[in-house]
């Protein structure tokens, strides 16, 4: 049955489930393509958080003096960077995924949501590798995990939801208006600096900041990721608020995507 279908609606999750194999193959494609013909191969998954860690630890930590009160500041930054790299990259690739898969969109039918969701696959792959290295680094610095490690998958899930949701929203906007591409590029950069949990210990933040900052989903989730990975005390308030904001954004992203996806093939 094919008819014009107006209005807002939730995505058809049953249909999405039927297309899970396509999701799997698209994610696999992205992973394979990314590592095809690169010398460093899988190492690239680690290069980005490591390099950012080095820069932050040197300039913010040493030169800026932020790292004075934080034990193992490089480890602190790397742990947050692992989460942020996943978050930022997933938003970036998901946002561009629909336009870069134009041929698929105009030549074949499947739930369009599969395309941005599949890009989370690459990010998750990298996240697992970078987290493994984090374990190694933590052991080297003599930081041992605690029971809070069990929270890590939950934090990763919340991160995925938030990142995919925002990516889905942006991907739909970019189809209609290519200008959002440029917004994306520097928006993600600015966002990183607007996420102080990446480079500042919670104690360095004021009361008000601690109250409001978790409305930036990256803030609370990055902190929660580091805290659960390194066995620090988990800031439940920040985690809860950020996870909820992320979920709300994801919901809105999917609703909006669903609303405009039927015109993708016309306008792309």
């Amino acid at each position: 049955m094919i008819e014009p279908r107006p209005g807002w609606a939730l995505p058809d999750f049953r249909e999405l489930w039927r297309y899970r194999e396509l999701l799997y193959f698209l994610a696999l494609r992205d992973i394979k393509v990314r590592y095809a013909q690169t010398v460093l191969g899988v190492g690239w998954a680690l290069a980005q958080p490591l390099a950012t860690m080095a820069v932050f630890a040197l300039f913010l930590g040493r030169v800026g003096g932020v790292g004075k009160d934080v034990p193992n500041y490089p480890l602190f930054v790397y742990a947050g960077m692992v989460a942020w790299t996943f978050f930022g990259n997933t938003i970036g690739t998901a946002a561009l995924s629909v336009v870069s898969n134009e041929r698929l969109v105009t030549k074949i039918y499947f739930p369009r949501l599969v395309i941005p969701l599949a890009t989370a696959g690459v990010g998750l792959f990298d996240l697992v590798l970078a987290t493994a290295l984090l374990g190694g680094l933590a052991a080297w610095w003599g930081v041992l995990p605690s029971w809070s490690l069990l929270l890590l998958p939950l934090v990763a899930l919340a991160l995925t939801l938030a990142a995919a949701g925002i990516g889905v929203l942006l991907s739909a906007l970019i189809v209609a208006q290519r200008d959002f591409k440029y917004v994306l590029t520097f928006g993600v950069q600015l966002w990183m600096f607007a996420t102080p949990s990446l480079y500042l210990p919670p104690e360095a933040l004021s009361e008000t900041a601690r109250l409001w900052l978790p409305l930036n989903p990256a803030h609370g989730l990055v902190a929660a990721f580091r805290q659960s990975a390194l066995g620090e005390a988990v800031d439940w308030y920040a985690f809860g608020v950020s996870a909820a904001t992320g979920a709300a954004l994801a919901l809105f992203g999917m609703l909006y995507f669903r609303r405009v996806e039927r015109t993708f093939a016309d306008t792309i």
């Binding site: 049955m1 094919i2 008819e3 014009p4 279908r5 194999e21 396509l22 799997y24 193959f25 698209l26 696999l28 494609r29 394979k32 393509v33 095809a36 013909q37 041929r103 698929l104 969109v105 105009t106 030549k107 074949i108 039918y109 499947f110 189809v175 209609a176 208006q177 290519r178 039927r262 015109t263 093939a265 016309d266 306008t267 792309i268």
Partner: protein
């Protein structure tokens, strides 16, 4: 019986001028069909109230000019684009093939691409795995299956892509012009596969510009014109009508009173010539193997007892292919001496390839031709499935299309076989 496909009043408009991302694309698409910038920031109706039903097992061809809306119709039926109004119902699993190799990625190996492309087309992983060997064998790329497809020749690439699609097993198959790509061998393979699918009792909707293929594959044909159904009926008739329209209607009647091709010293006797398909007597284009009719009207100032007409059919380079007159072939006697009349010449089983053939006319009496007009009119021949195979001889093999019978004999009983002659 429920129709497999029911299209009711499907309408699709594209909004133009809101495409901020790629104005070039819109303009390019638009330029195909309308004068550029005729109606800026307006709507363009690609489909206007299209309706038809397809019963299960029917193989329907969809034909039409560029921009008629064929691909748009198939996209609506494949759920790629949403109709602006109207509805369509499809019963059964739908497989649509709007392009060969959608989703192929050059960096991935043949094997990986088969799985990716298969799942893009809607096959499950189990299904692909089950058919994997058959797909690879059909494509003939066994040795290269673990090589990235960017190292494939373009022929291998297309073969592998088509092989995947050919093993799709839907109840309703929607195919858009995939026969238009690839070399002749590939096209034949596609056609063979399409025929197999068609005979297998599946419902097929098939867009093509290849009228021979449409005639041989389809039982029915829908002709789209400017987004509406212009004709819908038996494939042979609709395809022939379409061919005729494509050949340009009406131009086959030529006045000869002041024709520039008349030779010096001719007596002006022929006044008009009409070339048409003898089957319906009106259309200017004759299908291959059909009967052409050449009618020549004459007027004289003295009665003529033995009107004689010679017709020479020439190729595109104005070399004669054959000529005939009513002296060498039997002709019933004319009804007495005439000062005006018409000579009708029928050329049955026309052995010509599709094309336009100029005619020379020689008119006179038994003894001499006193009126000669070169290139008096054109005979237009359009493609038809004369051999019943859906294929025609290559177009560069000359203007004549002639049948043959075949036999292949071994020099002696081949070694190692039991079924020798």
């Amino acid at each position: 019986m429920h129709p497999a496909i029911r299209v009711q009043n499907v309408t699709k408009s594209f909004r133009l001028g809101t495409n901020s991302g790629r104005p070039n694309l819109t303009e390019r698409l638009l330029g195909l069909v309308r004068k550029p910038r005729a109606n800026p920031d307006n709507e363009f109706w690609a489909l206007k109230g299209v309706s038809f039903d397809v019963t299960p097992g029917e193989v329907v061809g969809v034909v039409g000019r560029n921009g008629a809306g064929k691909s748009t119709l198939l996209k609506v039926l494949s759920r790629i684009v949403e109709p602006t109004a109207g509805r369509a119902e499809l019963r059964g699993r739908v497989g649509s093939l709007l392009e060969v190799g959608t989703g192929f990625h050059p960096e991935l190996t043949g094997r990986e691409n088969v799985f990716l492309n298969g799942s893009v087309l809607g096959m499950s992983r189990r299904e692909i795995a089950k058919n994997f060997d058959a797909i690879v064998a059909f494509a003939g790329v066994e040795r290269f299956i673990d090589t990235p497809v960017k190292r494939y020749s373009s022929g291998m690439y297309v073969r592998l892509a088509f092989a995947v699609a050919a093993h799709l097993n839907p109840e309703i198959m929607i195919v858009d012009e995939v026969l238009a790509v690839g070399d002749a061998e590939f096209q034949n393979k596609c056609l063979g596969k399409m025929r197999e699918v068609a005979r297998g009792g599946r419902t097929v909707l098939f867009v093509s510009h290849n009228m021979t293929a449409v005639q041989s594959l389809c039982s029915r044909c829908v002709w789209l014109k400017d987004g509406t159904v212009h004709a819908d009926g038996p494939a042979r008739e609709v395809a022939e009508a379409y061919n005729r329209a494509a050949a340009g209607g009406g131009g086959a009647e030529v006045r000869l009173d002041a024709h520039p091709g008349r030779t010096l010293g001719s007596v002006r006797a022929m006044t008009r010539v009409r070339v048409c398909d003898d089957a319906d007597g009106t259309s200017p284009a004759v299908p291959m193997g059909g009967t052409a009719r050449v009618e020549v009207e004459f007027e004289l100032d003295r009665p003529l007892a033995d009107a004689t007409l010679g017709v020479v059919v020439k190729d595109a380079y104005y070399s004669p292919i054959f000529g005939i007159n009513n002296k060498v072939t039997p002709c019933p006697p004319q009804p007495g001496p005439l000062t005006a009349g018409t000579v009708v010449c029928r050329l049955p089983r026309l052995p010509l390839m599709p094309g336009v053939y100029p005619l020379d006319l020689y008119f006179g009496d038994r003894l001499n031709d006193f009126d000669t007009v070169h290139n008096a009119a054109d005979l237009t021949v359009v493609a038809a499935d004369v051999f019943g195979t859906g294929r025609l001889p290559p177009p560069n093999a000359g203007p004549v299309c002639w049948p043959a019978t075949w036999e292949i004999r071994a020099a002696r009983a081949p070694e190692g076989t039991t079924d020798g002659p």
